[in-house]
Symmetry: C2
Subunit: 246 residues, 2 copies
DNA sequence: CGCGAGCTTGAGGCGATTCAACTGTCGTGG
DNA sequence: CCACGACAGTTGAATCGCCTCAAGCTCGCG
């Protein structure tokens, strides 16, 4: 989170304090039903979730993934993306984030960094949504898949959860397919093609990008511009204090 | 706009005043380049625009359409959707909306309705983005097309720009195709199928929904819930004072 | 050991794309 | 007044990307 805006000591302390009050969600648990407000705002400490919608006949579209370090339902106002069905894809550990909301609500300027970080996160969410639309609307299965993997790597790197070009990716091919608008079978074949061309390694829930630059060129991937997302304010890259996420 | 939140007389007066200072944009004009801030916030009085992104090889994805009554770049903070390339699809007339921004910036409670309407509009924008993702990711060409037409009708009705089941739809099939992730040729054939099955009429820029209920069922369309979008505050449906848009 | 979930593979088919040509309707200018 | 080009829409034919159905595989786990 301090990669999105520099946090003061007071703010970091607050985050660490919040992280002591945890809750565990099993695989498949609904963190938020479609439409109604979720139980309470949460900070994700570990595990992956998806925001999604299902059609009456069973088709599913995943809007995006929630990764460790992300927040759920922490915006200043209700937003459709935050209100849609949110489902745990792995077992997850989350923390009750009400203290963060309370701190922000005071309007205390000591927590300005926190507010900036949340605004940046919300802007990033929206940017990912646009990328996702381009992927699904105008890219081939091959491009979509590579592009999504690069995005995941970028996000996890920002959160300090990637080791070089490798990262844990606990999603099934069915889940990836539902995110990318593909069938499971074609998802499988597409991943195999990426492996065959030595662009990725993928086994037992771990991805390695073997040639990220080529992959980025092939899939037209460019990393988000953090400066834009941060707005005019915070410009300093955050330090390394995120032990609470590991 | 007062369909999204009840506006006071002062607010309506402000909107009308703004609408006197107009500017005309030709077909194809860029209202906002990709990435950088647009010249200034604007209120659309007539004409359609699209928010879009283009890939280096020429493929184009349209994120959504901007209709008369919509605002451009009026949010409280920079948001990726508002920052992406915005192009006039017809000739447009827009008004300089800086007075509205100024009024909001005063924090004056007399302009609370205006703020609520803009928040609601922004939430609606995001909701449309999610619908768009489902369309493109998980619906057939036939479903996508019908669904989009229903959405357009709903939006135009809200703005008082539909006459019953009929409305002006000044988009080319190429534009529709780029929104729905289809080729022009297939867009054409899909529209013909909808006509053949007597679900729509479409000629010389005017659409008529011949059987909206069947169409909604076939395409899994449900109108947005205005109450949710409005937040807890404004609940009263707006009146009819929108002469400035006609 | 047997079961289930996820992954893999083949075969066949449909939906959507591409290429290419043709039509109709404008507005323009000779 | 008509020739002209530009543009949107339409149509046919061939092709391909992706889907569906179906079966077999692998692995972890009770």
């Amino acid at each position: 989170m301090n990669a999105l805006a520099p946090l003061s000591q007071a703010e970091e302390a607050l985050v660490v304090a919040v992280a002591s009050q945890t809750q565990t969600h099993g695989h498949g648990a609904e963190l938020c039903g479609h439409g109604q407000q979720p139980a309470r705002p949460r900070l994700v400490l570990s595990g992956w979730a998806s925001r999604q919608r299902e059609l009456p006949d069973g088709r599913r579209q995943i809007f995006g993934f929630i990764l460790p370090g992300d927040t759920i339902w922490l915006g200043s106002r209700p937003r459709p993306l935050a209100l849609c069905a949110t489902v745990a894809l792995t077992t997850m550990v989350t923390a009750d984030a009400r203290p963060l909301v309370a701190a922000l609500a005071t309007g205390d300027r000591r927590y300005a960094g926190l507010g900036a970080a949340l605004d940046a996160a919300s802007a990033l969410d929206e940017a990912f949504l646009l990328d996702h639309l381009v992927r699904i609307g105008r890219q081939t299965a091959y491009e979509r898949t590579g592009h999504l993997l690069l995005e995941m790597h970028w996000r996890l790197s920002l959160a300090g959860l990637a080791r070089g070009q490798r990262f844990a990716m606990p999603l099934t091919q069915e889940t990836l397919a539902d995110a990318l608008g593909l069938s499971v079978v074609h998802m499988n074949r597409t991943l195999q093609q990426l492996r065959r061309e030595r662009l990725i390694r993928l086994q037992s829930g771990e991805v390695e990008l073997l040639d990220p630059y080529t992959l980025a060129r092939l899939t037209d991937f460019t990393a988000p511009h953090l400066e834009k997302v941060r707005g005019a304010g915070a410009l300093v890259e955050g330090g390394g204090v995120r032990a609470e996420l590991r």
